[in-house]
Symmetry: C2
Subunit: 215 residues, 2 copies
């Protein structure tokens, strides 16, 4: 099985993946942006999010900046700018900002050194918590805790669920396929010997979340 065939094949097996841009900034002020399909929820309390760093690629600029500044942003990729997001996967030099190269805009807020993606409709900043080395294939699991959050309020439902589909958030399959979604159903919490009910999407959050994460 040729290596390129194998990479595309195996990358398809885990199912659909999240599409996120990770924003960082070098201590010298140089911004950096890279697309990742491996961002994963780790826990709600504390609010921990992880992603996988491959051993040999341009994404190392991202890791170097995270290690030196201990801050980064995760920005959901929506259908309006998925092509620009994909362009950030090209191998640019340390001196080139993927913001400039991709045509996306950096957005800064007080208290967060790393840049957000202005075009992203759901984004948050993280403080580095741990880097776990996976010896089997020399990858790393980078774990951060959410410190600041920016989300369009209308997407946040009464029960806390965020309707990310309404934000145009995309997902990825394999290495290079981008997808829109269409909700089938929200389902109630499953219990033995009890039918599952459909949940409805209509409310708006009672919480107003602008740039901080409620406790």
């Amino acid at each position: 099985m040729p290596q390129s065939y194998r990479a595309k094949f195996i990358n398809s097996l885990s199912g659909f993946k999240s599409a996120n841009l990770i924003g960082t900034q070098h201590l010298n002020g140089q911004s950096n942006l890279a697309i990742f399909s491996s961002v994963i929820h780790l826990g709600a309390s504390p609010a921990l999010v992880g992603f996988i760093m491959r051993p040999n690629n341009a994404e190392r600029h991202t890791l170097n900046n995270i290690v030196s500044t201990e801050q980064y942003t995760i920005n959901q990729v929506s259908k309006e700018f998925y092509r620009k997001a994909h362009q950030t996967s090209a191998h640019y030099s340390q001196e080139e900002s993927e913001f400039v190269q991709s045509g996306l805009s950096a957005h800064y807020i007080d208290g967060v050194y790393a840049p957000f993606v202005k075009e992203s409709r759901l984004k948050y900043a993280l403080k580095l918590q741990d880097i776990i080395h996976i010896k089997l294939n020399n990858t790393q699991l980078i774990i951060g805790e959410i410190s600041h959050l920016l989300c369009e309020n209308k997407a946040i439902q009464e029960d806390g669920y965020i309707d990310i589909e309404s934000l145009g958030t995309t997902c990825i399959s394999g290495l290079d396929s981008y997808h829109n979604t269409t909700r089938i159903k929200r389902l109630s919490y499953a219990k033995p010997n009890k039918p599952i009910n459909d949940l409805h999407i209509n409310g708006t959050s009672i919480y107003s979340i602008k740039d901080g994460l409620p406790k």
Copy 2:
């Protein structure tokens, strides 16, 4: 922020998640099936797939079986049976099989002790390779290497990409929302100063993959 609100909220932030059923079998022959939204690609060579195990839930039956047998299956959830898949998240006792309770069917092949989900259109068996403890929130990253694979051949493209959308594979947002997908585009490998091209979906794999993973 109430705990239930917080769980739904934070679970929405990572973006869309994969929808997979993990099949295991106790040494006494009792089968087990549980839905996970945390299955993640870790590497193509070796073919490694991971998932996150929470500290306190019914999924522990899954972990106990994986530790004792070192084998498990991952089965993509398609739209035809997403409600049955969701039902496996109910807290059943060790003596009850989620196959029976959900109405899904177990399928066994030579060389794999754990059951596959017959209804799943892309599924594979794994050999346990490592369990990494994440101290920050007492979760575990379970890592396996793919040993056997069952996939409808027509979904496998000439370049190795598997068109999982054509298999009706679903994705999940938050804790309980199931989604179909619609491909926007496959995009070419990004390079600096070069426009991204669209890739087309039409071919069929030159590889015939029935129950083993080519090297």
